[in-house]
Symmetry: C2
Subunit: 90 residues, 2 copies
């Protein structure tokens, strides 16, 4: 088993309303920031997984996204997997 750092980006689907983004945009406007054309708010998840290999870690993360981390109707997700080199001194 190896250890993997998995980064999952969950973003609102293009074209769909993003109420959280709109709220942030209005708040920035109230603070006096002109020139903010749009704001979209997503989630950024950093997971540490134990898995046999990189492909297994990716498959596990994809299943997690479909089951729990993302809403398939309103959100897209992107997964990035990096193996962690663990060096232990004796």
């Amino acid at each position: 088993m190896s250890r993997f750092n998995v980064e999952v980006r969950v973003t609102p689907r293009p074209g769909l309303l993003d109420p959280q983004g709109k709220a942030v945009q209005h708040a920035l406007d109230s603070l006096g920031y002109a020139g903010v054309e749009s704001v979209r708010v997503g989630k950024l998840l950093a997971l540490e997984l134990e898995a046999d290999d990189s492909a297994a870690a990716r498959a596990m993360a994809e299943e997690m996204c479909r089951k729990l981390l993302a809403n398939p109707v309103t959100e897209d997700f992107r997964i990035q997997v990096a193996e962690v080199d663990v060096v232990e001194a004796e």
Copy 2:
């Protein structure tokens, strides 16, 4: 004025508790995923800004983070700025 795509990553500071991440970790555990060592949940903001140049867009985004987008006590932020080439056909 040019247009810039600004990506802001807001993440819980290392060492601080991340209750949202813990909740996701427990939920994944309940779904039967063994091997999830840790989960940290942050925000991913995509902004479209009008600014004079890349440095101005970055400075504006940094100020927004300090004032509104991130909590300086509990969160770190990272900003990435990309200029958008707009080509308009006549």
